[in-house]
């Protein structure tokens, strides 16, 4: 009798809260590929299990397609419960316009200041000392992916860093390979430039330009060397004729190309093609020179709603997203790194472990999303795609690049 009572009480205590405040929350995001959707499913599963209901509002096409839709909904007075943005400056104006929910109390209750690592992630969510977003993952773009097969075909060892890669490129070319695969879309040119700039100019110079925004350094000889390095690299990519990044990755997988500079998400392509890290392909974070990763990523923002129930549910979701269990489940599927250092990712593969190691050592720099406005980044994309794909002089590109940065100061 006693046990029965206890059991009933237990059931009641578990079931009651759920019944009392089960709320539907519409969540919009642009994660729609296989791995991404599997990762979102983990978030939804956890949210549903906690008693609320995740209503999924996925919109593909990346931020460029999804953001105007999200912003329209928010300004149209019919906001969703939560929405993805890349954290940094993208949602700043919505926060300033008072359209976003203040999450500071959730952050304090769950100790985000201590657990979120690196702290720059939380800084990017902070406006005037208040916290407005929940970071969920870290993506780093600075990786060189190499095809072991291409190098075996050419009869040379797989390079261990960017310099070796450039040196051995002629031999690859002689063997009928494209040394560097690079898709035609502007963002890929910008990404490759960013990766080469950290590798060639080094961390200090990079920080002076992107964090301290020292324009004299930006115009100086270190960055002139970066532009020269890219001018050399673009010859290696001259025969690459694909558009999409994953078509370029496919060239590496089939051994038609030696390597590709791409973010950690390229890993999914290798996995799907049943490639094994170390034997079929090699990954070099920071291009094997300066093993630093920039820590961009995704975060969720919560537009202000009229209903108090919704607001409570929004806060519950925010807390849940940062919780250790959800972090592990989500990031294993997404192939990204977790935003807290106190979780265990034993199931991660080799390349992901390399990333985790760098993360643990603190070899991190803030991402471009945080350092520069989308406007500056778009201008640089336009410039760099032209620079990569034409014979524009390095000096001219360098000058224009500095001017682009200055427009964002």
């Amino acid at each position: 009798m006693k046990t029965l009572k206890l059991a009933t009480a237990l059931v009641a205590s578990v079931a009651l809260p759920a019944a009392a405040f089960a709320t539907d929350l519409e969540v919009t995001h642009w994660w729609t590929s296989g791995g991404e959707a599997a990762a979102v499913a983990e978030l939804a599963k956890a949210f549903d299990a906690s008693g609320d209901k995740w209503i999924d509002g996925a919109i593909a096409g990346g931020g460029g397609t999804a953001r105007p839709i999200m912003i329209s909904r928010i300004t149209g007075g019919d906001p969703m419960g939560a929405t993805q943005f890349n954290h940094g400056q993208q949602a700043l104006e919505l926060v300033e316009a008072g359209l976003m929910l203040d999450l500071t109390d959730v952050a304090e209750a769950n100790n985000w200041k201590e657990v979120v690592f690196p702290p720059s992630l939380l800084d990017a969510c902070t406006v005037d000392g208040r916290i407005y977003c929940a970071p969920v993952n870290i993506h780093s773009p600075e990786w060189l992916w190499l095809s072991n097969k291409a190098y075996a075909d050419a009869g040379i060892p797989v390079p261990t860093n960017w310099n070796e890669f450039v040196e051995t490129a002629p031999q690859l070319e002689a063997a009928g390979k494209i040394p560097l695969a690079l898709g035609n879309q502007p963002w890929q040119s910008n990404l490759a430039f960013g990766a080469i700039s950290i590798a060639v100019a080094g961390l200090d110079v990079w920080k002076q330009v992107n964090v301290e925004k020292n324009m004299d350094v930006a115009a100086g000889p270190e960055y002139a060397a970066v532009f020269q390095a890219v001018a050399d690299a673009r010859k290696l990519a001259a025969k690459s004729t694909v558009q999409d990044w994953n078509q370029a990755t496919n060239l590496v997988i089939t051994g038609e190309a030696g390597g590709q500079i791409m973010g950690d998400w390229a890993q999914g392509e290798f996995q799907v093609a049943n490639q094994v890290a170390g034997t079929d392909y090699t990954c070099l974070p920071g291009l094997g020179l300066n093993a630093y990763l920039s820590t961009g990523g995704d975060a969720f923002y919560f537009p202000k709603n009229k209903s108090a129930d919704v607001e409570e549910a929004q806060k519950r979701l925010a807390a849940l997203l940062v919780s250790p269990e959800v972090q592990v489940a989500f990031n294993l599927k997404k192939g990204s790194l977790p935003i807290r250092g106190d979780v265990d990712l034993a199931a991660a593969n080799d390349c992901m472990k390399k990333g985790l190691e760098l993360l643990a050592q603190g070899n991190l720099v803030p991402s471009g999303d945080m350092a520069w406005s989308p406007d500056v980044q778009k201008q640089n994309e336009d410039l760099l795609v032209e620079f990569w794909k034409t014979d524009m002089a390095p000096e001219v590109a360098h000058q224009q690049w500095v001017a682009n940065l200055k427009s964002g100061l």
């Binding site: 953001r67 105007p68 035609n184 558009q243 989308p374 406007d375 980044q377 032209e386």
Partner: protein
């Protein structure tokens, strides 16, 4: 008495006036209002959300010193002229061919029209494949033995616009053919009879009698094709992403990229204002000729 006549006149075409209400509201509120709003905010430094922080002509200065914008304008002119000429010529020729009491008219029409039903995103992708040197036409022809055959328009900055044109014509000419065919079918049968009685050859009848009679159809086609060209966006994004480099950039891409990716509404509005201004420059003389001329005649 006079007053009664005036009321009478006001009430006379009442139904016609009621019927015109949707058009009047749309033009005034949406098109005039929306355009004025766009022009107004092009003088601000609006980023993500429209805001009234006035910066004069700053956005325009930046726009006209931007090399991507200048390339876009140039591309649009080249592509636009080529596309207009080819679309209308091919559309008309096909419509004439279809109007010759041919067999399987339905089949041919469907074949020509079906590309119009497919999304631009995949159209761009498929043509990107077909024109790709590694696995498209070039590799097939080389496989047949012509080793030196080179056909790689999408990776040659000088040829990339023609690569886009091949896909654009594929998608749009079928519909233009339909428009022209509708026009041909609307021509008075007596005209044909008269021409035949006079012994005028068919081709001459088309060129000298039918063509001038189809002026309204050509104007319709011209506007539809031209509006499509100005708004050209999806196809370029899917097929070339504006590349190689910035060789196939178009103005609409600049507008959208800066409005939504760069989150610089002011710059995007300035660019679209320039686009609309160009349209006005072409449109006003046309409207003058079309409507001004009639009053005299």
């Amino acid at each position: 008495m006079a007053e009664a006549r005036r009321t009478n006149r006001m009430w006379r075409n009442l139904n016609a006036k009621i019927a015109a209400i949707p058009m009047v509201l749309t033009t005034l509120v949406v098109f005039v209002g929306g355009t004025a709003w766009t022009v107004l905010y092009s003088f601000t430094d609006s980023k993500l959300l429209p805001r009234e922080r006035w910066v004069g002509f700053d956005q325009y200065e930046r726009l006209w010193s931007n090399s991507r914008w200048l390339t876009s304008i140039e591309n649009l002119m080249v592509y636009g002229v080529l596309s207009l000429v080819f679309t209308i010529t091919i559309g008309f020729l096909l419509a004439v061919a279809m109007d010759q009491k041919i067999r399987y008219e339905d089949t041919f029409r469907t074949i020509m029209l079906y590309p119009f039903a497919l999304s631009f995103i995949v159209t761009g992708l498929v043509w990107q494949w077909i024109l790709n040197p590694e696995f498209g036409i070039q590799s097939i022809v080389r496989g047949l033995g012509w080793e030196s055959f080179t056909f790689n328009p999408l990776n040659d900055p000088k040829l990339v616009l023609y690569g886009l044109l091949i896909a654009g014509l594929w998608q749009g000419t079928g519909f233009v053919m339909c428009l022209m065919l509708a026009g041909l079918r609307g021509i008075d049968e007596d005209i044909w009879k008269a021409a035949r009685v006079d012994g005028i050859p068919t081709w001459k009848t088309y060129l000298q009698i039918i063509l001038p009679m189809m002026r309204p159809v050509f104007i319709t086609t011209l506007v539809i094709v031209a509006a499509g060209i100005i708004k050209l966006y999806d196809l370029v994004v899917a097929q070339t992403s504006g590349g190689p480099g910035t060789a196939s950039q178009v103005p609409a891409m600049y507008v959208y990229d800066y409005m939504f990716q760069a989150q610089n509404l002011g710059q995007g509005f300035a660019a679209s204002t320039m686009m609309l201004l160009t349209v006005l420059i072409v449109l006003i003389p046309w409207a003058y000729l079309e409507f001004g001329g009639k009053k005299h005649g």
